[in-house]
Symmetry: C2
Subunit: 301 residues, 2 copies
């Protein structure tokens, strides 16, 4: 990072983005009405009023760097948060990670029921795609198609969903380090990479610029997950708002098993350094993304 | 239907379309490979080699009537079949309808496991949207965005998923006739309406033409569901390839409870007649859609 200015106001920026994306989500999520009201309640319960909105921050920061419209970025950010939220709802299901606590409150299937949780996730994923093709996102429909394509690739069987599949299989142990890296790059990294890349798509900046943003997201996303594993061991349950020590108890493949806590912290720092190097030459607006990398390393929750 | 020519070759047309869309699905679904191979196996298991492909037939027939390209229609048909297949996988889950038999073989969560079934559904829904924005579907990206928007609306919380939500709530009894109509229009009718309408979107034919196709689909879709309820009472399990008598056993709200078997058959016939009337004035190519209406009334499985 050395000579590059670091945005020390990332906490304030995160809070401001969280509020802005919360307002969009509140407007875009259906109001509970009709005989299916419980579905909309479950969607709103899981998506609103919680979450650090890190992906939204990345979408906005990438968009600013690329020169894309901030209002458009917020809509894309809302779509990404819907996809992230749906994945958490489904991951928390008893048949999956069986987690009762999420963002400091009961998981969707606990607060509602399993069927509602499955359906709330399904509806959120669908709504995210509907939002991306909204004309407010971009006047050029080819840009909107590009967003759908990239988000679908990041979220689908060869991305996030495939990563969760590997994660479930790896619970039974025997996952080597390389497989953990693969699964985390898919499960978490792919959607974070899309979040970073979305601004380049919005600004119609392809080639090396777009690739650099995506690669930044890939590495910083992996670092994020490495630190997640560290916090699962050393973190504070109240601060995290989720169960800790669960991965180890489940015999789950984590970076800690392979690297140890200190080794994992070193690996995360190396990944963030490499990620930051990707931003060299992308212009002066990369400060918030660099600050995000530092934030990943410093976070306690 | 009276003066209109009816395509008596619908069985052959259905078979031909089923084979054509099967080939597309086989090509578009990921081959099992990598650590997530089981996910792709579950997707392929549920989608390939089964199903009547009625929605694909409707997409193709609507496209032909609208003057859209048949190859494009087949891609859209494949996307619709992915969405339909995902909805069956999730509906069959123990927390939902808890059905062990689907298309004459064990349901996805039985053949694999619950987690794989949830994820296979998620990945199929995502892949369907990715396919719709593929440039092969249409050279004009605004058409592709229009397809995504319409399919998302049909499949989402105010369509198919919302209908399933109402259906689950209605299982506990007390659903009146109007609510059953609402839930079936959402749960089944919305995606069938999109299937019929897709050709108009592909051919950039809006207004009354597109609306007529959608309304045809809405009514024929409801008729389909009415007959489905009839077959659940009088049908043959082996021919249907799924458990019969289950709805009644579950105390589920069906058209039979409200109308009786004969009343339900009359209602379906009235719906198909009204649906067929929507096709008047849309041109000579409506034969296959009219034949489909008759097929819905005559079907035994």
């Amino acid at each position: 990072m050395g000579d590059h200015p670091v945005d020390t106001g990332i906490a304030a920026s995160l809070t401001e983005t969280a509020a802005a994306v919360e307002a969009i989500l509140d407007a875009e999520l259906p109001r509970p009405a009709g005989a299916e009201a419980r579905l909309f309640e479950a969607m709103r319960y899981s998506i609103l009023g919680g979450g650090k909105r890190l992906r939204a921050f990345l979408v906005r920061s990438g968009a600013r760097l690329a020169g894309a419209d901030d209002g458009a970025a917020l809509l894309v950010a809302a779509a990404v948060e819907m996809v992230h939220g749906y994945s958490l709802i489904h991951d928390d299901l008893p048949a999956m990670d069986d987690d009762d606590l999420r963002r400091g409150k009961p998981s969707c299937h606990v607060a509602f029921d399993e069927a509602s949780a499955v359906l709330a996730g399904d509806a959120l994923l669908t709504l995210a795609f509907e939002l991306l093709v909204d004309a407010r996102v971009h006047p050029d429909p080819s840009v909107r198609c590009g967003l759908v394509r990239a988000m679908a690739k990041a979220a689908g069987g060869k991305g996030m969903v495939g990563g969760q599949m590997i994660d479930l299989a790896a619970e039974h142990g025997g996952a080597d380090y390389e497989l953990i890296v693969t699964l985390e790059r898919m499960k978490t990294g792919a959607l974070i990479a899309f979040s970073c890349e979305a601004g380049a798509i919005l600004a119609r900046r392809g080639g090396e610029f777009r690739r650099s943003l995506r690669e930044f997201g890939r590495d910083v996303g992996l670092a994020f997950q490495v630190i997640d594993d560290v916090l699962d061991v050393v973190g504070d349950e109240a601060a995290l708002g989720k169960t800790v020590g669960k991965d180890a108890a489940a015999g789950k493949a984590t970076f800690i098993a392979a690297l140890g806590v200190e080794g994992a912290r070193r690996e995360a720092a190396a990944l963030v350094e490499r990620a930051a190097a990707r931003l060299d030459g992308l212009g002066d607006g990369a400060g918030p993304l660099r600050a995000f990398g530092e934030h990943v390393l410093a976070r306690q929750r």
